[in-house]
């Protein structure tokens, strides 16, 4: 592990943890970006074209050592949304502790964008 992993590598760590959480169907697919590109919107959405890129955002927190992590998930039907978001947060924190200990003070925000 490097001392300061690139946000992209951290996003991969976060994304894998999220997808392994029971009740998560997939990350927000990011189809809106396909349409937004037509009207010049979507600047700063942080997409890189990678699959699921719009489902995880990792930024260095302002003025702190911590990270700001935003996760956007589509849930599988039949799971209580709040319970899944709590499990997602725990999974992300655990994965970061293990694979990116410098990121332990991360703030993790989880948003449910759909249920399928």
């Amino acid at each position: 592990m490097t001392e300061q992993q690139a946000p992209r590598a951290l996003a991969d760590v976060v994304g894998s943890a999220v997808l392994a959480t029971r009740g998560v169907a997939f990350l927000r697919p990011g189809l809106a970006e396909l349409l937004r590109s037509s009207v010049g919107l979507g600047a700063g959405r942080g997409t890189s074209g990678a699959a699921g890129a719009s489902g995880v955002r990792v930024e260095r927190g302002k003025g702190s050592q911590g990270l700001d992590i935003e996760v956007y998930v589509v849930l599988s039907r039949g799971h209580r949304a709040l319970d899944v978001t709590r499990a997602v947060r725990s999974a992300v924190v655990a994965a970061l502790e293990e694979q990116a200990p410098e990121a332990v003070s991360a703030r993790v925000r989880v948003t449910v964008t759909g249920v399928v």
Partner: protein, 220 residues
């Protein structure tokens, strides 16, 4: 069917939400998808990078949605037509999410988009016999927003209990007070059991009456 009956979320900024599902080439996303599903050749789509990107994204979404089948109870099995519909549902939820609403307690950082929550509530209402849900809006409860603990992030409601307003059409055989109570109970139960959303109040508006066949009863 509109995802969020009641129209665009008024009074809130969603300037980055496209009005239509139109690709940069001018084709409508749903139409490109439907045509590809039929297998009919389309000279435009064959040579268009925007359509190709869209189809690739939709195919990968279709795979993802199909995989969720393994996670579902048997009674929810669905066919391939339903699969295509569910893919477009996911797309539309992403395009028109509405406001972002808090889940759980005030000190948590968990959220759900209004359109997904409203869909859950409408399904709960539709489970009552002779009752059809229409528009469903979810707001912050004004009683609760007097305490400005911390400003919510942009586009998100304050972290307090929600106030839900739902319009319903009901069969003539219902007592209106009774049906309002039943609707309220279903929504409160769904908010707790399916979402984990705190609810301050549920306003039920009887928007119309249905005759026994389930069609609107009022003429003109």
């Amino acid at each position: 069917m509109a995802m969020n009956e009641g129209g665009a979320p008024g009074g809130t900024s969603f300037e980055d939400v496209p009005e239509d599902e139109i690709l940069p080439c001018g084709r409508e996303l749903a139409q490109v998808w439907e045509q590809a599903e039929t297998g009919e050749p389309d000279p435009h789509t064959a040579g268009c990078p925007h359509c190709a990107d869209a189809l690739r994204a939709l195919r990968s979404l279709e795979d993802a949605v199909a995989r969720t089948r393994d996670d579902e109870p048997q009674e929810h099995t669905w066919d391939t037509t339903a699969l295509a519909g569910r893919v477009m549902d996911v797309v539309r939820l992403e395009l028109r999410p509405g406001r972002t609403l808090p889940l759980g307690e005030a000190d948590e950082d968990a959220w759900i988009v209004e359109a997904a929550a409203a869909r859950t509530f409408r399904a709960a209402v539709d489970s009552l016999p002779g009752v059809r849900a229409g528009s469903c809006r979810i707001e912050a409860d004004p009683q609760d927003t007097v305490r400005p603990a911390a400003a919510p992030p942009p586009g998100r409601l304050p972290r307090g209990p929600a106030r839900i307003r739902v319009e319903v059409q009901v069969g003539l055989s219902w007592n209106l007070q009774l049906v309002a109570d039943e609707v309220r109970a279903r929504i409160v139960a769904a908010a707790d059991r399916e979402l984990g959303m705190r609810v301050a109040a549920v306003d039920v508006v009887i928007a119309d009456l249905l005759d026994d066949e389930g069609t609107e009863g009022r003429q003109g």
